[in-house]
Amino acid sequence: MYLLKIAFRNLFQKQQHSITRIISLAAGLAFGILMLSEVFYYYSFDSFYPEASRVYVVQSNARLSDDNAEMDVWDRTSGAIAPGMKDEVPGVEVATRLNSIGNLIFYTADQKSYKGRCVLADEYVYDVIPRNMLVGNAKEAMLKPSNCIISSKIAASMGDDAVGKVIEFRKYPGVQLTVAGVFEALPENSNYKYDVLISMSSIAQFFDWDGSTNWLGNDRYYSCVKLDAGVNPKDLAPAIRKMQEKHQDIIKLEQDHGGELLKYTLIPIQKVYVSRIQGMVIILSTIALAVLFVSLMNYVLLTFSSLINRAKSSAVYKTCGATANDLKKIIFTESFVFFVLALSAALVILMAVKPLVENLVAHSLEATLNQYVLWPIVGVLIIFVLLSSYFPGRFFANIPVSAAFRNYKQKKNKWKLGLLSFQFIGASFILTLLVVVTLQYHKMINADHGYRSQGVYYCSTNGIDGSKLNMIMNELRKLPEVEKVGMGEEVPVYQQSGNNIYSQDGKKDLFNIADFYSVDENYLSILDIDVTNGRDFSTSGINNNDVFISKKCAELLKIHNHWEDGVIGKEIKVSEHQRSTIKGVFDDFIIGSIVEPDKRPSVFFYQSEEGFIRQKEKYPSMEFKLLVQAKTGMEANIRNKIKQVVDMALPNKDAVVRSLEDEQFNGYQAQLSFRNGMLAGNVVVFLITIIGLIGYTSTETTRRSKELAIRRISGASISDLIVNFILELQYLVLPSLLIGLGLAWFILTKWMESFAQKMPLQWWIFLLCSIGILLMVAIIAMIKYSRIASRNPVESLRYE
């Protein structure tokens, strides 16, 4: 208490830079804690499952093309793999598989609509990844067809009596499920999220073909296994291979394809999420630690400066019988008080910017309040407090008593320069990062994706009565703002499902393609995708099921099939499709986003508008998209008008019209968030660096006031003195800049590794960032030094 009391009083003493220290520390802590908690949050995914350390997700490792040396890895398998492992792999205690059918709109009998992620699951789901059941029995519910259980969140929106209600999906008219239970909603840090669990035995109501017992292909099942205690997942490889040999005829497949083709590995469920964003985790951790380190160094620098003013009190304590440890305790208590105040201020800052932050990180901040985030953060903060008090404490305890009683000034300023250099490293590192990330972001959103997105709108046909489609198309065409209307099953802004192109004899797969399925005669022209070889869909002589392939696909077909006379007019067989005739070739475009583009060749199958309408009338649950191209300059309010037209065919008038441009832009949300994070980090680091620089120049002007005065008396002009001091600082800044730029180059190279289009890391970017930092240092130094340099030298000497 005694030390605390003294520490609090010290806060209000002159020359303690208390407010400055607290502000810079709070800014650094707010940003550092936020970034670090984000990293720890990623690591907390799925840790809430009981005995999560024994739960593993089955990953497929497959070579998608014979030419491909590397295996692609993804955490989905065929339907039979999970139950197969349970039955045939010793060490697997229990297994389950889930099959997502999408984020669907569904209705209750009272026509109220709800939306939720719907997943088919077998009866073992809660034996492996359990949730607390609030009402009902999950195992019983998952055994019965047409049963589902819903999350507490959905149940709450349905009212008190959700159990027993019947729900019907907009996408699957006529498919009705009974709510048989309510489970505790999944927390935000779930990798595999769902709101509605549907019994796997209901699968036939959603898919024409039941793949839940399929051993090969249709790998859309999220398979999880719980291992016996103490089992090493790597030890299960031989048994898994044996299962593959038995059920997949893997040996023959490998002989046909010349080597290892498919294997299954187990990844701890707690690592699934973080394994996908390893690069982001490295960058965030680096930035968080850099900001914390810079703010720590700044705090230490300012504390040292304030302690110089208290050198005599160090000596007084010693003459009163205080040991070095007693003095360290004093500084530790003071640092602790500063830290608590700064931490409180940091929390206030975070609460103030909470909505902004939540928008940036795409989850609630409350989601990070779990033991897997809080304890590591507490650990980091404890290290922070110890470091922030250790060095100043040591310094304070080691001030020589006899020197302290005289006019104690530091003879050397190297340690200050050292601390300051860390701040310059941090500032140049994060400024360069910000500039390149911003340029890369703008390059990505402005990049030519190979198709038109501006002025293109689309709407799903989910829930639309097929008999009204013709009327909708006509109404849309009547709108004065509409240039063109078309139909297609997919749009290029999203990753596409894959299919295989077979060899001409149909005996082996040649390569995997991004399948856009059917599009009508207007689709390609709406998206401005040019057919560079062959004919356009809009020309005559094109029949349903004719195929248009990308240039990359054409090249691969030429190689595999030895087609030296081109591909036009040739027939190909694609899985899920009948034999099709190639009618045209188009330039490859970006599928998905530039960040993680789907690099596979792509194909479009032709289906006429009438064909689409007929299909929809025949299969009401069939979903495709209505595409609308707006006339140039007439986009205002067009979304609303399209919605009004489509709503005419929807009983609940709930059409959702999307802009292709917006969706494309949304594909870069993570990069935008990253850029904004960089911007915030930059502001924080610059604030800290400026404070540090001001602190440094203040103590230096005091330390060297006599020298300055003597130089003035010796004939130096004010500008001579300022230039001299600025140059001294710049000698320190230059090597720091080089280190910071080097670090930035390293991190940026890693960050951009996967991007299809990269901002070239040109020398002028680094030069401009360096000039920016040098200018900042020069301006601050000039302002600070000019005041002391212009002081009357006699006054300075008297002061001295």
């Binding site: 010290n10 009190s313 010693k318 009163c320 040991t323 020589p400 006899s402």
Partner: protein, 232 residues
């Protein structure tokens, strides 16, 4: 009590060695009141710092209460500071963020005296120095003389055997200075505290029993005050 044998203190510059104390010998018995005089830079304060174990000699031997102070560990020196040595400074050196009472109490905290006992001892001393009304004031709220009184109170609260005063009246006007000197004399005579003071003031030096004059780090004279007065 204090025995300095051939003490050297020097600073090495690039090309030469500057001596602050040169072959300095001194014996001070318990209960003495010694004034050290000399021009600025003569080595008075350095001598006091060596005697107070705040600084170490580069050569020579120093025995404090028959203990070889030149060989003592830092821990042992702290023990001596806590139990046997009190310091009074020209600039008072009170701790700004502490009240009068807390400043006086500080040595007792490091000595490990219990809180209740500390409070009683501080109250007793405040009463003795007529400073009870000022106990909750901070140093900046006191006059120079009052600050030095607090400094003395802090120096004697742990009942030291040796009191080292480095120009205790240097920042005070003459009346305040006399008061402080009377107090020191009283502490020496009534409580038997050995006092070594550094001063520039001839009049105040004569409050002691012996005056040592130093020049260029060497002892020029060491005479009892009575003898000096006789010479005058």
């Amino acid at each position: 009590m204090i025995q300095l044998n051939d003490i050297f203190k020097y600073y090495d510059n690039k090309f030469q060695r500057s001596y602050v104390l040169k072959d300095f010998c001194l014996n001070i018995n318990e209960g003495e009141f010694v004034s050290i005089m000399g021009p600025s830079g003569a080595g008075k304060s350095t001598l006091l710092n060596i005697i107070g174990m705040l600084d170490v000699a580069d050569d020579g031997e120093y025995f404090f209460m028959d203990q070889p102070a030149h060989k003592l560990s830092d821990k042992k020196k702290v023990e001596f500071h806590r139990n046997y040595v009190g310091f009074i400074f020209q600039a008072f050196h009170l701790i700004d963020e502490m009240t009068v009472a807390e400043n006086i109490e500080t040595p007792l905290i490091y000595k490990g005296v219990k809180s209740k006992e500390r409070k009683a001892m501080v109250a007793d001393l405040l009463d003795r120095f007529n400073m009870v009304a000022k106990k909750d004031l901070f140093p900046a709220q006191l006059s120079g003389g009052q600050q030095q009184l607090v400094g003395i109170a802090r120096a004697i609260i742990s009942k030291p055997k040796l009191l080292l005063a480095d120009e205790p009246t240097g920042n005070l006007h003459s009346d305040q200075g006399k008061e402080i000197m009377k107090l020191l004399k009283k502490l020496n005579e009534e409580e038997g505290i050995t006092i070594i003071q550094v001063t520039h003031n001839e009049e105040f030096a004569q409050y002691g029993k012996r005056i040592i004059r130093i020049e260029d780090g060497m002892k020029k004279s060491d005479l009892p005050v009575a003898t000096l007065l006789e010479q005058v």
